[in-house]
């Protein structure tokens, strides 16, 4: 039996459904990332798991216990908020000890746990500072410390890195993964950033308009999107309708094609053994390790990613080039 089991969860707000038919399973020690655009219901779903909101139907079981009837602090969960929610009048150490006090910890035991947490999150030099004196990254580490100090069975994180700037975000992503590997907590992480989802998740659930479209390991969701919606959301994908497939590649297909930019290669001459089409480069963008080209093929613009190599000079605009596709890399979209 899975550590966390969610079945038939749904919630309405008046007449509109916030989310419906939610079913999820999470194994112990897994990080499940809930990813989707703003307004898809992921935050409300998280809050229902936390006990801050009640669902209309369904059940949630954590470690074999049905938690829906329980108050938040009885569920064995802890939560990290996007805007930290640190108590402004308390120092870092006090924020952590206040949380532990609620669990009944006192005296030496309490002090030791606080010290251990401060060490773990490397907050030592700032332990007596108030939140107002901390940077965004530090504040989020304190929020995480406060949550983990409770040794929760399930850690919930509501877009914890969205308020931080890019550099800090990347650093905290690495730190989060390291912490999780070391402590092994189970977590549900909500984000709207699909890149973050791919980096952090052991399992990804793509959510849209209140439903989970697809859930699975990152490479499954990325490489084999089950629907147009998922394909369009994760990664930067080329979607070609059947007519366009015929028009561009001369291939007949019942279903639409989904082509990842990195699976299309460029060549100066056509290779008869592969599916090819003639085109012209119209745009070039250096993304660091890859170069992203826009190639106009039979009036259709395709996104093509090529690994950047100093030995290969970039293509000038307007260069005639052939795009090549390996049939095995084509994903068919059945919706």
């Amino acid at each position: 039996m899975s550590f966390v089991q969610i079945r038939d969860l749904s919630k309405k707000f008046g007449e509109t459904a916030v989310f419906a038919d939610i079913a999820m399973t999470i194994e112990q020690g897994e990080v499940c990332v809930l990813v989707g655009p703003s307004g898809c219901g992921k935050t409300t779903l998280l809050r229902v798991m936390a006990g801050l909101a009640q669902p209309d139907t369904g059940s949630i079981r954590i470690a074999g216990r049905d938690v829906l009837g329980l108050a938040p602090h009885q569920r064995g969960i802890a939560m990290v908020f996007q805007n930290y929610a640190l108590f402004p009048n308390m120092t870092v150490a006090q924020n952590i000890s206040f949380a532990l006090e609620q669990q009944g910890k006192r005296g030496a035991d309490l002090a030791q746990r606080v010290a251990a947490m401060i060490d773990l999150m490397e907050l030592g030099p700032r332990a007596n500072a108030r939140p107002a004196a901390l940077s965004g990254g530090q504040k989020q580490r304190v929020a995480l410390a406060r949550a983990l100090a409770l040794e929760p069975q399930l850690l919930l994180l509501d877009e914890p890195l969205s308020a931080l700037d890019a550099q800090i975000r990347k650093r905290l992503q690495v730190e989060f993964k390291r912490l999780q590997a070391r402590i092994g907590f189970t977590a549900v992480f909500v984000t709207h950033d699909q890149e973050e989802a791919l980096i952090l998740g052991d399992r990804i659930a793509v959510m849209q308009s209140g439903r989970i479209l697809q859930s699975g390991a990152p490479h499954e969701v990325y490489g084999a999107p089950a629907s147009r919606a998922v394909a369009g959301f994760i990664g930067n994908i080329n979607i070609l309708e059947p007519q366009t497939v015929r028009h561009v590649f001369g291939q007949v297909s019942q279903d639409a094609w989904a082509l990842h930019p990195e699976t299309i290669s460029l060549s100066p001459t056509p290779d008869a053994a592969k599916i090819t089409a003639p085109g012209e480069s119209t745009d070039r963008r250096l993304l660091g390790s890859t170069v992203r080209y826009s190639v106009l093929v039979q009036g259709v613009s395709l996104s093509v990613d090529v690994l950047s190599r100093p030995s290969l000079p970039p293509l000038a605009m307007g260069t005639r080039v052939f795009v090549e596709v390996n049939p095995a890399d084509v994903r068919l979209l059945t919706d």
Binding site: L52, A53, A71, P72
Partner: protein, 276 residues
């Protein structure tokens, strides 16, 4: 949500007090203003409108308030501009003393001005000696203007200063780069940006002056031709005592104060406040 439903009890005492000591008394005044000789009537209002004595007081109160509001704003605005350029510590100090000045009303202020500008007051003597004035009667309406101006200017400083931050250094610099003259800057940029706050401030100052009782009473006693004094006399005066008339006069005063506030709120709701 695990909201504690007993929290509503926290609101009960204040709402009870507000009801018993603010709302109901006001309601009592409203209702009694329509009562004359025991029956429902508009007679009180009629009598007030017809009476030259009371009309005079209203007009005097009104123009005294308008005049001192203009004086208050007229001095406060340039003072605040000066204040902007002063270091923060000194700023706070001056604002603190403006706070004292704005509250320094009633007997203390009136008496201070009597000492300075009374019949044998220091400044009266100085000004007479310098030949600037013939005579100065602090107990006249002119005297009231002088005294009111003191706390109006102080209040003006307190109310206008925070809103000046809307005219940022960046805006001034941008204008300077475009070659905009000081006069044009204020006419086309500065005052329009400040207009909502300035109008709000003016309404506040007007209400403050119209509602002043203690200062006028301290200076001119029960004889002053002002609405607030007349109300006081009608309630507790030795000669005239007509509480219902006092109520009606009170209502006229309140309406005079509420109308500008309502107009200001509606006007700016429709147009939307300017953002810097």
């Amino acid at each position: 949500m695990t909201k504690n439903h007993w929290m509503i009890l926290a609101l009960a005492p204040l709402f009870a007090v507000l009801l018993l000591f603010e709302v109901l008394p006001l309601l009592a005044v409203v209702l009694s203003s329509f009562s004359r000789g025991g029956s429902w009537s508009l007679g009180n209002y009629g009598e007030l409108i017809a009476s030259g004595y009371h009309r005079n007081a209203y007009v005097t109160s009104a123009w005294l308030s308008v005049l001192t509001t203009v004086i208050g704003m007229g001095f406060a605005l340039p003072i605040c501009r000066l204040l902007q350029r002063v270091p923060s510590g000194l700023q706070t100090m001056i604002l603190t003393y403006s706070n004292i000045g704005a509250n320094f009303t009633g007997f203390p202020l009136a008496f201070a001005f009597i000492i300075m500008f009374g019949l044998s007051g220091s400044f009266t003597l100085l000004l007479k000696a310098a030949g600037w004035i013939e005579d100065l009667n602090i107990y006249s309406i002119g005297g009231l203007v002088l005294v009111y101006s003191y706390f109006q200017i102080c209040l003006g400083i307190l109310v206008i200063f925070p809103s000046l931050s809307a005219i940022t250094v960046e805006i001034e610099e941008a204008a300077r780069l475009l070659g905009v003259s000081r006069v044009t800057f204020w006419r086309r940029i500065g005052l329009p940006i400040l207009a909502p706050s300035l109008i709000g401030a003016a309404v506040l100052l007007f209400a403050n002056a119209m509602g002043t009782y203690a200062t006028a009473f301290a200076l001119a006693g029960g004889n002053a031709a002002l609405v607030t004094i007349h109300i006081g006399e009608l309630v507790a005066g030795d000669v005239f005592s007509d509480p219902n008339l006092a109520d009606a006069l009170s209502m006229i005063l309140v309406v005079t104060l509420v109308v500008p506030i309502l107009v200001e709120q509606l006007w700016f709701k429709r147009r939307g406040r300017h953002a810097a």
